[in-house]
């Protein structure tokens, strides 16, 4: 596709449930990033993939959060035992090469997660 796409656009779940959020990067982009944006805040870095591997997952808040990118393209962010504090917009971005501060990241529209 032309840009980064994310599904679903909105997800409402109950506390304690498991959710999966999907990101489809720009075709040909090797690097993929997940960010989380809470209301009134800027996005916060969660994890960075170079190809299939997670090169940096230092931003994941705890072990309930996990992300995969098995074929080096689509990525899934998985959240177990969701908590109300997980409610936020989850943004995905991709870039051509990655690993460089001068490689522009292009963002998707995000998934708004609401945990009741």
């Amino acid at each position: 596709g032309a840009g980064v796409s994310q599904t679903p656009s909105n997800k409402v779940t109950e506390k304690g449930k498991y959710v999966e959020l999907r990101c489809d990067p720009i075709s040909g982009h090797t690097a993929l990033y997940w960010y989380r944006q809470s209301l009134g805040q800027g996005p916060e870095f969660l994890i960075y993939f170079q190809g299939t591997g997670a090169a940096d997952d230092s931003g994941l808040p705890n072990d309930r959060f996990f992300a995969v990118r098995p074929e080096g393209s689509v990525s899934t962010l998985k959240i177990q035992r969701t908590e109300r504090g997980d409610s936020a917009v989850y943004l995905c971005a991709s870039s051509l090469r990655g690993g460089s501060s001068t490689d522009t990241q292009y963002f998707g529209p995000g998934t708004r997660l609401t945990v009741l």
């Binding site: 980064v4 690097a31 990033y33 960010y35 009134g40 805040q41 800027g42 996005p43 916060e44 870095f45 960075y48 090169a55 940096d56 230092s58 931003g59 917009v89 943004l91 870039s95 990655g98 690993g99 460089s100 501060s101 001068t102 490689d103 522009t104 990241q105 292009y106 963002f107 998707g108 529209p109 995000g110 708004r112």
Partner: protein
């Protein structure tokens, strides 16, 4: 800890006004500063600045970086209602160049 601070947090102007948005940063091993425009959810890329004193320009938008005083400004001239958005500033460092460290954003509302 690296920090990016934007001001003002919100701003209301009339169509045709010129606005200046501010971004200051404290980043170890600073590498680049970026500006994004966020309407609804997806941040869209505006500028990346790495060199001090060189203005980047795109239509009515321009931005400049001052690496000595550790800040950047984003100027929008002849504002239009379509400029209404949250403007995000982010910095990167050489250690983990890919992780964008964002400020809270400036919410700009341009009224007719």
């Amino acid at each position: 800890e690296d920090k990016v601070v934007q001001s003002p947090l919100s701003l209301v102007v009339h169509e045709g006004d010129t606005v200046t948005l501010n971004c200051s940063y404290e980043v170890t091993n600073f590498r680049s500063l970026l500006w994004y425009k966020q309407e609804k959810k997806a941040p869209t890329f505006l500028f990346m600045l790495t060199s001090s004193g060189i203005e980047k320009k795109s239509g009515r938008l321009s931005s400049i970086l001052d690496k000595k005083e550790l800040f950047s400004i984003l100027n929008i001239t002849a504002t239009q209602t379509g400029d209404s958005a949250v403007y995000l500033c982010a910095a990167t460092n050489s250690n983990s160049g890919y992780a964008l460290n964002f400020g809270k954003g400036t919410s700009l509302l341009v009224t007719p």
